[in-house]
């Protein structure tokens, strides 16, 4: 596909998906949660497909159940309960990994359980942070900023980073960033992505009237985490020997491909904003 056609196709899909998302987010908090839950279930479906192509048969129903639990807790319970639930899930997953590495009798079953639980946490857990962010927005931001979309912050950061990295990588890319994980990523692309995301964060943060220290923190950390998320997903694909995770979003690839950076950026944005606006107040 040519550069121009590829770029226009990417832009059209991003604009279309963005508008639908914005409409539902604006409509009510419940539809907002449903949109993210739908995206999470689709991404999880792609993740399980990817894993199955690698020869594994995870207990998918457990993965979907865990993802649904994250959304339910994020939507129905207070933020403190949600935070505790998230920490507990990490601990349980870690414990499961330890048991799986020691256990020999039920190793196969434990591996399948571990993959399902990991999928639920990596995708469902990460996307449920958007619901948490929306809650913080309702508590602290509604009516204060002229722009009622706090949850867009991590998406804008991730997509600005992707766009900047894509453009600079195409124009100037030469030195490979991580040839063992992803052959396409370049150091020039990384620098362009970080710069692009920083500029976008500065503008968006100023419009949202966030403190300068927080904008600075978000501007530096989000693009780095976005690249880490990209590389992590690439390493997953390489691990299972797959090129694209899906084709739902045309030139973007699958949902997993498009949201790979977001899975890392959303939790970080939540933690930073929670710390500044809830924990410190």
């Amino acid at each position: 596909m040519s550069f121009k056609r590829d770029f226009i196709s990417r832009l059209t899909v991003a604009l279309g998906a963005g508008l639908v998302g914005l409409f539902l987010a604006w409509y009510s908090n419940f539809t907002f949660m449903l949109v993210f839950a739908f995206f999470a279930s689709f991404a999880l479906w792609e993740f399980f497909n990817l894993v199955e192509r690698g020869g594994y048969r995870p207990y998918k129903i457990i993965g979907y159940g865990i993802a649904a639990a994250f959304f339910a807790v994020a939507y129905f319970k207070p933020l403190e309960t949600y935070n505790n639930f998230m920490i507990l899930s990490f601990l349980v997953l870690f414990l499961l990994k330890v048991i799986q590495s020691k256990q020999t009798t039920y190793r196969k079953q434990l591996t399948m359980l571990l993959i399902a639980a990991f999928g639920g946490l990596y995708i469902g857990g990460a996307l449920s942070f958007a619901v948490g962010l929306q809650k913080i927005h309702d508590l602290k931001f509604r009516g204060i900023t002229p722009f009622d979309y706090l949850f867009l912050l991590p998406f804008v950061a991730a997509w600005a980073s992707d766009t900047g990295a894509y453009l600079t990588g195409k124009l100037l890319g030469k030195d490979k960033l991580a040839p063992n994980i992803s052959g396409k990523k370049t150091i020039e692309g990384l620098i362009g992505g970080v710069a692009s995301s920083m500029a976008a964060m500065y503008i968006f943060g100023t419009v949202l009237r966030l403190p300068l220290s927080m904008i600075f923190m978000l501007g530096i950390l989000l693009p780095l985490f976005c690249t880490a998320g990209d590389l992590f997903e690439s390493s997953l694909k390489r691990r299972f020997d797959v090129k694209d995770s899906g084709t739902l979003l045309k030139a973007h690839g699958g949902v997993l491909d498009r949201f790979d950076g977001v899975f890392f950026v959303l939790p970080l944005t939540y933690v930073i904003i929670y710390y500044f606006y809830i924990y410190q107040s």
């Binding site: 604009l15 963005g18 508008l19 914005l22 409409f23 604006w26 409509y27 722009f147 009622d148 979309y149 867009l152 804008v156 997509w159 600005a160 766009t163 900047g164 990295a165 453009l167 600079t168 124009l171 100037l172 030469k174 150091i187 020039e188 692309g189 620098i191 362009g192 992505g193 970080v194 710069a195 692009s196 995301s197 920083m198 500029a199 976008a200 503008i203 968006f204 419009v207």
Partner: protein, 37 residues
């Protein structure tokens, strides 16, 4: 080194352009939704 600096500059410009376009789009969409809903 020169290429890296140039990447940074292009990245910054891309970010400003991206955010302006996205911001305009979000603002227009929110105005439209205020009108529709």
């Amino acid at each position: 080194m020169k290429r890296y600096i140039l990447s940074g500059v292009i990245g910054l410009l891309a970010g400003v352009f991206f955010m302006s376009a996205t911001g305009l789009l979000i603002y227009s969409a929110s105005q439209l939704m205020k009108y529709v809903l």
